[in-house]
């Protein structure tokens, strides 16, 4: 009882605090932590690339690339390649994870059907197949998807190596141009 009144009181206080005039708000802690934000800034204010939180479907972190003003063709090529690789990775993994979840749900459903639809235990928690049965699913899933994984891996290695090579060239050209400018 005390917890509920406690929480309600807290919420009411929170609402009241939010409704205060803006001038009296405490300084956001964000200002003291540069380089972190809920959303990346617009392109004109970006000094570097920004990397975001992991996408829930693909578990990959998206990068927002900075398009600098005096971009050479090599830099533009590198940026486009990175953006395209990111999109390709995102598509592959979100599709792959979706398939995994779907097949896992199907497997559990068939298992439960074999167990006479008894999906809820006496203490209220859901019944799940034990580890040996689940390992059967993991094995079949892995063997089924191995060809596509191998193809993905080949493509990923090629792309990654080319990206590293291009970024090396871009870095070298930038160093050279900076050295020349200093002169």
């Amino acid at each position: 009882m005390m917890i509920r009144t406690f929480c309600t009181g807290r919420n009411a206080y929170a609402a009241a605090m939010k409704a205060r005039p803006a001038g009296r708000r405490k300084v956001k802690a964000k200002a003291s932590v540069p380089g972190l934000a809920a959303q990346p800034p617009p392109q004109s204010q970006m000094a570097h690339d920004w990397i975001g939180p992991a996408d829930p479907s693909s578990n990959l972190r998206p990068i927002k690339f900075r398009v600098s003003a005096g971009e050479s063709s090599a830099e533009e090529r590198l940026r486009q390649l990175r953006a395209e690789t990111q999109k390709w990775n995102q598509a592959f993994w979100s599709d792959h994870n979706q398939q995994f979840n779907k097949e896992k749900a199907d497997f559990i459903r068939t298992w439960l059907e074999k167990e006479d639809f008894n999906s809820v235990r006496t203490d209220g928690s859901k019944r799940m197949p034990p580890a040996e049965d689940m390992s059967e699913f993991y094995r079949t899933f892995l063997t089924e998807h191995q060809p596509s994984q191998l193809q993905y891996q080949r493509e990923w290695y090629k792309r990654n190596l080319y990206i590293i090579y291009l970024s090396f060239r871009v870095k070298m050209s930038r160093l050279v141009s900076r050295a020349l400018m200093r002169r």
């Binding site: 992991a54 390992s135 993991y138 892995l142």
Partner: protein, 469 residues
Amino acid sequence: MRSAVYMLQQRAGVAALKVVVLQQGGRTTCVWRTGDAPARCLDTWNKPWARRGQLQASGVRWYTSKASSSITPKRTYKAVSRERIGPDHSRILPASASVLTSSTEPLQGNSRQETDHNKPTTIAEDGVPATGVDDVDADPEVLPPNQLWREQKLDLSKLLGYYMKLSKIRLTGLVVISAVGGYYMAPGSHDFSTFLLAMTGTGLTSCAANTINQVFEVPFDSQMDRTRNRVLVRGLLSPLHAVGFAAVAGSTGTLLLYNWVNPLTAALGVGNLALYTLLYTPMKRMSIANTWVGSLVGAIPPLMGWAACTGQLEAGAWVVAGILYSWQFPHFNALSWRLRPDYSRAGYCMMSVTNPNLCRRVALRHCLLITSVCSLAPLTNLTTWAFAFNSLPLNLYFTYLGWKFYEDANNQSARRLFMASLWHLPTLLLCMFICKKSLHDKDKQDNIKVFTDFLVGFHPFPVLPFHRL
């Protein structure tokens, strides 16, 4: 934090935990977690001054659990509600620490904590209320750092930390320790500067190998819990930077070994690097034979250490390498048993996923192999016969755990085998060092004795009477 029962909600909103915090003598000591796992201390609560990267804002405080081993992920929680508990803790704590109630049993006294899972009210620790993360307009003050966008600007102050994480410094340390073992067991003359150079070279090549591995595994590491906080996955360094670090470390290490130690050691180092990066890393997704290749990679460092000492590989070198080769199997098979769901989803071909029976058989087989090799090691003049007897109880216990894993493979037996493998190898190496043959040879005293005296001189404890063993 005061003694209370806290309801924590995991960052992603998936799981909710009930946590009991006890305060003894004015210091928060332990945090018990009801549910599946054994009790675990939450790192940030014990050491609030070590709260790195967390916002000291007027918002929700995020707590990270301490990962008890490298295979358990760190989880981030926020406190959702709190119930004070009186001085009488016995009604909440179970009788024994390791026996925990199931998570569906409500705590005594207040079952209302179970009801509001969908809409948690967040209560910050310092009393200032905060908005919840379920709000549509995500307030950056209340989001944990890893749900925010981060500028990819290199933080030079953290560079050394990034390099250590890239090179998997703990694993590199173990590799260097096995090379030290190989060097010490070799019957040549021991020179401290050569020893230091050999170990540095080995360590640097290991750093390079681990870094290259991480560069190519970024999308796969993001899929698995264990590896999703790696440096390159989080974008703390660019891939080019990591490759540059690997190139510098690898070339420095190899040149060091070639110039000041031995061409043979350098060749072994380069070979190991190539084996790990060019064969093992791609093979992890192609076939289960990668485990055998990986074991070979683990067996080469002692050969490097031995070659650094004597310049050639005698029979004893192969014995030490053989022990390390066999050790990798129970170690890795037990580790991979618990990671089957993650391996399956990320596409790694491991025995534990594709052929579980083989996994258990191989682990037991190599436990027995270690026992037999250690018992026959004295035949190669590597150790005295005391080693065969001293190592027997150790190896028999390890084989017993391997047998348990073979007979009934579940998370518990896998975990016990893995944890045992972590102390089994250092203890076995120590046994081997003490029973080294040259120590007990009457005619070969001088060189070894100088080295042993040098090492023992660093020891703060009273000198062991080696000559008495």
